[in-house]
């Protein structure tokens, strides 16, 4: 775990919950925290460069913009795992891919412009890997967005 000082923690906790839409938003947040704007910006830069923060800015909901998403799983035999990983990762539509400790050992997210393209990518992966893909599109969303205390 990377070392964080108290100010870093405070900045992360404050900025996880939101950032204002105003002319000088850094000055506004810094003022609330009792530090100066330049210090906030430089700490933030440091946290991003060191990958303690993975992103800072607006988080868009692509589905609301007309895109389509699905979570897809595969049961990949151990000896084929690297080969199948290469096939799946070769699609620009595949955004994330995780290995998990289950019979369903590969889980990835496909993001495309239309729902039909999800099916096309899945079919293509099945043809190239010789394995079945299991499609788990979201039917309802109960919560997205984690704010972990640090």
């Amino acid at each position: 775990m990377k070392q964080l000082n108290d100010l870093d923690r405070k900045i992360i906790n404050v900025l996880q919950s939101g950032f204002p839409l105003s002319k000088e938003p850094f000055a506004e947040v810094a003022g609330q925290m009792g530090i100066d704007e330049a210090e906030l910006i430089s700490r933030l830069q440091h946290l991003l460069e060191n990958k303690i923060l993975s992103r800072f800015g607006p988080m868009y909901d692509a589905q609301k913009m007309g895109g389509a998403f699905s979570l897809v799983a595969m049961k990949v035999p151990q000896q084929d795992f690297e080969k199948v990983t290469e096939v799946v990762n070769s699609y620009s539509e595949v955004a994330h891919n995780y290995q998990r400790d289950n019979v369903f050992n590969m889980w990835f997210v496909i993001a495309t412009e239309t729902p039909q393209q999800i099916a096309e990518v899945n079919r293509d992966i099945e043809q190239r890997s010789g394995l079945k893909t299991y499609n788990f599109p979201k039917l309802a969303e109960y919560y997205v967005g984690l704010q972990l205390p640090v």
Partner: protein, 174 residues
């Protein structure tokens, strides 16, 4: 479609359509905000519009949920949350919305979805992502979910990630 808790869904039937400027604005900001004193002015000058217009457009996208929020996203792993457990639950479809909302409100759950079962291989329809420092801690959090679901859940599993095979930031379509 259920609405994420705590958000106001705009009046039904009224759909927000992104215009060309909105799309340019999305492209200019999806990898992050500029770290300068007046970030919206900076974006405005890239787009050839005023900062007021940038702020107004982003406010509208926030209101319609196209922007979930403007915030910092921590790298969970770097912060010591190394156990990423996908907990999956088999609950009656008739009760899933009610139960899903309860689980989604737990502070350690980052994503909570209703997804289809894939019988006979996959009996689970409720997915809740749990982040913890260790697997033991994740299991104990799964225990809290199990307690909340009680008899409504007939079986569950926890799938830990063992390797990130790919992680490109989700790029939105222009």
């Amino acid at each position: 479609m259920a609405t994420p808790h705590g958000k106001q869904e705009p009046a039904s039937g009224y759909r927000f359509t992104l215009d060309k400027t909105d799309r340019k604005l999305i492209q200019a900001t999806q990898s992050g905000l500029p770290l300068v004193s007046r970030p919206y002015d900076d974006i405005a000058s890239q787009l050839g519009i005023s900062a007021d217009e940038v702020i107004e457009r982003m406010q509208k996208m926030l209101q319609f949920g196209i922007i979930r929020r403007i915030a910092a996203v921590p790298n969970h792993y770097a912060l010591g949350y190394k156990a990423n457990g996908m907990t999956v639950w088999d609950v009656p479809d008739a009760r899933i919305d009610e139960l899903g909302k309860q689980i989604g409100e737990l502070e350690f759950v980052s994503h909570c979805y209703h997804r289809p079962r894939c019988l006979p291989d996959w009996p689970y329809n409720l997915f809740a992502m749990v982040h913890a420092h260790t697997r033991e801690e994740a299991q104990s959090k799964a225990g809290i979910i199990a307690g909340l679901l009680g008899d409504a859940c007939s079986r569950h599993d926890v799938l830990f990630s063992t390797r990130i095979l790919k992680k490109t930031g989700m790029r939105l379509l222009p």
